[in-house]
Amino acid sequence: MHQSFFSYRRYRYAVRAGALAVLAILAYVFCPLREPKSGGTWLGYTLGTIGALLIIYLAWYGVRRRTFGSGGSATGWLSAHVYFGFVLMLVATLHCGFQFGWNVHTAAYVLLALVVLSGAWGTYAYARYPSLIVKQRGNISRAELVEEIYQLDGRALRVASVLPADVHDLLADSIRRTQVGGSIWAMLRGFDESTVLIPAGGSAPSRVVPNQGQRALIEALAGRLAAQADSNEIAKMHSLLDIVARKASLVARLQKDVQLQSLIQFWLYLHLPLCFALLVALAAHIIAVFFYW
């Protein structure tokens, strides 16, 4: 049976992490310190040690993921990783006693915050996107979706090959300039960046216009259709328009799929590099503290 990492073993790690959080807050509030709270007090050193150990434990999850079959269930590890990750942020904040500045110590804190934030995004992504992906993709895989679009393109070109050359040119250009995915930003945004070159007509020069949802192409084809007299060609144009409209809906689905897939992956492209940077910053932070004790 599938068990969510949120509720793993009746929230076992949520309870443990919560207990650590409560303990840390109580220690912070009630500790009889004689000096202003900071990382340099005995409480600060204690919380700092706990925080550093937590960071190493959480980073070890990355190693654990790549070695299968030993040391507990993967879901358990993930559950602990998520809950202790959030508590780590609290421990680090109490460790520094809310003192911040332009230095390696705050840099490490900021990196930690970014790692935790990207992790939070990841948690959100895994909670939300999988069901959305399944829902909008229907029963076909992405490869099938891509193949179907290619096939529609081929059919459209075959239909256009017997139509006037400029219609064929327009269609071929629109296929060439149809854009799914592409840059990282385009994937994440899920915005249709397709364009099409509308050739010069009358006094107007040729120009590249946005072809979002193949609308510009459909508009241009519809314009040609209105000027058409040959009934055979009219029928061909109708079927061409039909194919383009079907393609437009498939492209939109593919676009959405690409967006959701990249959203569910992208946080890890932040989480991992930031985590490595954090480990180095943590080392620098500890060395700096004791180098100039």
Binding site: L33, S38, A165, L272, L279, A284, H285, A288, F291, W293
Partner: protein, 588 residues
């Protein structure tokens, strides 16, 4: 000049003829690239925004050159080139685009045939990037970049500044360059700001805590809390300066004011230091003993003179404490509402007529006869000669003054008893040549008058107005009177600091209650703790002025000996300690 571009569209289904679209461009340079402003636009991610140009070359007329604007170049006849001359039949490939130079008759525009490579096999699908892993984004690459960036900025470069002296000035000079300044957890206290970015002014050896000697090398005169010769010193053995003085903290105070630093010992001092006279204290508002004042007490030495000692007395509301200053003074009389007789008639006196703050404004100047009393209390002794006065505080001087005064009067004014003989003078000789007999009589008279005047001063009018005068039995002459020595308490509460300046907006009698009703100078008019608690309360008070220990007390106390003698001895090998030991030698 003109360029003619023939762009292939398709082969006609029926005839198999290739169909082209012709575009003529009027320009000197034909631009080719992905950008929408290019003459030949190639929509492909592998092509740069402005990838190449075709322009007339040097040399013979009509020569053309293709020039790549990016390092990736263009492929001319299968070879990668940055620049190449173009001849009819040459093939130029830029990404998926194929350009073929057409042979043209002389005078016709330069002509290119243009098609997309994938059109050849009929496939129009272009490469779509559909997942992040295909987009060139690499976790490994960015992990490496970020980690090494962080390591360089926050660890390696600062470490270089910390360890390699020649680099220090270069790295520490600018805030924009990473240096070990990035390791500083907070700003220096303003008093230490002059140290600037020189971390090693205090942090002399890596991976070891700052020792007290780093502080005492400048603050060499800092004294201890307890006498350094006493056993109590062991209570402070492990105390570093840094235990109370926190540098690099966000709060700009270098002195930790938490009163628990004091009350840790002082709330139950006797268990720490069994012989202490001090009472336990934990908080000014809730747990502070009554004030105790230092009162002077004189004890006569067997061989004459007086030993002054101080006793400490509690100041309690309603309990009168007395000081034996040997003065006779009534505050009530001097501060009477109806006034007191002065040299220019009746005057109403205020406290500030006599009690003036010293230069710091914190304490009061000592009361002095000459400054504070003599305007009204003159030391005249001869009604007939009001300009003459006796000196103050010098009994022998009083007698000498009296004697010389009456001798002069005898001689100058003919005062004294009727003369029994007249001298025969040689005309033109000195008038006042006095004979031996006359001299004796004059001296006797002057002595007699002096003693009369002295008795008047010591027993009736002048001295006794303010002083206690004892008549010594068996003594004669001027020796029969003794003015009891006066010592006024300069500092009633030497263990605390009080700042009159900070309280000057309040009336004096608000704290020194009863001053205007006090009839004897023995009254101790110091306020009890209750007076202070009207406004001051403990450190965590919400509705009164929070007052921690350091508001009135100090940790480093005068006369206790140097705080860190041990460290100073150990550090005599270091150059800074040289300065310290020299300073120390100058001390008595």
């Amino acid at each position: 000049m003109r360029f003619r571009v023939l762009r292939w569209i398709r082969s006609d289904v029926a005839t198999g003829n290739k169909q082209y679209r012709e575009v003529v461009v009027q320009t000197r340079r034909l631009t080719i690239g992905r950008g929408s402003d290019q003459h030949l636009q190639i929509a492909d991610p592998k092509v740069f925004e402005n990838h190449a140009v075709i322009r007339p070359g040097r040399g013979r007329e009509g020569a053309m050159v293709v020039e790549a604007l990016t390092p990736s170049g263009v492929i001319v006849n299968g070879r990668n080139r940055l620049s190449s001359s173009l001849n009819p039949g040459d093939e130029v490939r830029i990404g998926p685009a194929v350009l073929i130079v057409e042979p043209v008759p002389k005078g016709a525009p330069f002509t290119l045939r243009f098609r997309m490579a994938e059109q050849e096999n009929g496939r129009l699908d272009r490469l779509h990037v559909l997942s992040l892993s295909d987009s060139g984004l690499s976790k490994r690459f960015w992990s490496l970049m970020l980690a090494s960036g962080v390591a360089a900025i926050f660890l390696l470069v600062p470490m270089a500044a910390a360890l390699y002296q020649p680099l220090r000035p270069l790295l520490r000079a600018s805030a924009m360059v990473p240096s070990d300044g990035l390791w500083s957890p907070g700003p220096l206290h303003a008093a230490h700001a002059f140290i600037g970015s020189d971390c090693n002014a205090c942090h002399t050896s890596p991976f070891s805590p700052i020792e007290n000697v780093q502080c005492t090398s400048c603050h060499s005169k800092v004294e201890h809390h307890v006498p350094v010769t006493s056993n109590d010193v062991v209570l402070f053995d492990l105390k570093r300066c840094g235990a109370c003085h926190i540098e690099h903290a966000e709060t700009p105070s270098v002195v930790s004011r938490d009163q628990r630093l004091c009350s840790d010992c002082h709330s139950d001092l006797r268990t720490k230091s069994p012989k202490t006279e001090l009472l336990n204290v934990a908080d000014f508002g809730k747990d502070h003993p009554d004030f105790r004042v230092n009162v002077l007490q004189g004890r006569e030495r067997p061989k004459g003179g007086i030993d002054w000692t101080t006793v400490r007395l509690d100041v309690l509301p309603g309990v009168k404490r007395f000081e034996r200053s040997h003065l006779t003074f009534s505050h009530a009389q001097h501060l009477a509402r109806k006034g007191i007789k002065g040299p220019d008639g009746d005057e109403v006196l205020q406290c500030a007529n006599c009690h003036l703050p010293d230069e710091s404004g914190r304490r009061m100047q000592p009361i002095q006869m000459e400054k504070n009393c003599s305007r009204c209390h003159s030391l005249r002794f001869d009604e007939k000669d009001p300009t003459t006065t006796v000196p103050h505080g010098d009994i022998d001087g009083v007698y000498t003054t009296l004697l010389s005064h009456f001798s002069r009067r005898f001689l100058e004014e003919g005062a004294g008893p009727v003369r029994t003989s007249q001298f025969v003078r040689r005309p033109g000789g000195r008038a006042d040549v006095v004979g031996r007999e006359e001299q004796t009589r004059a001296r006797d008279w002057a002595e007699q008058q002096s003693l009369l005047a002295a008795r008047d001063l010591f027993e009736r009018r002048v001295c006794v107005d303010c002083h206690e005068v004892t008549k010594l039995p068996g003594m004669t002459g001027i020796q029969q009177w003794r003015v009891e020595p006066v010592k006024l308490t300069r500092n009633w509460m030497p263990r605390a600091r009080f700042d009159h300046q900070a309280h000057k907006t309040t009336e004096c009698v608000a704290c020194h209650a009863g001053a205007n009703g006090s009839k004897t100078s023995g009254d101790v008019l110091m306020p009890a703790i209750g007076e202070c608690r009207t406004c001051h309360a403990g450190a965590d008070s919400k509705n009164k002025l929070p007052s921690d220990c350091l508001m009135c007390h100090q940790f480093h106390l005068p006369g206790r000996g140097l705080f860190d003698q041990q460290a100073t001895i150990e550090s005599q090998a270091s150059p800074r300690a040289g300065i310290i030991s020299r300073m120390r030698e100058q001390q008595p």
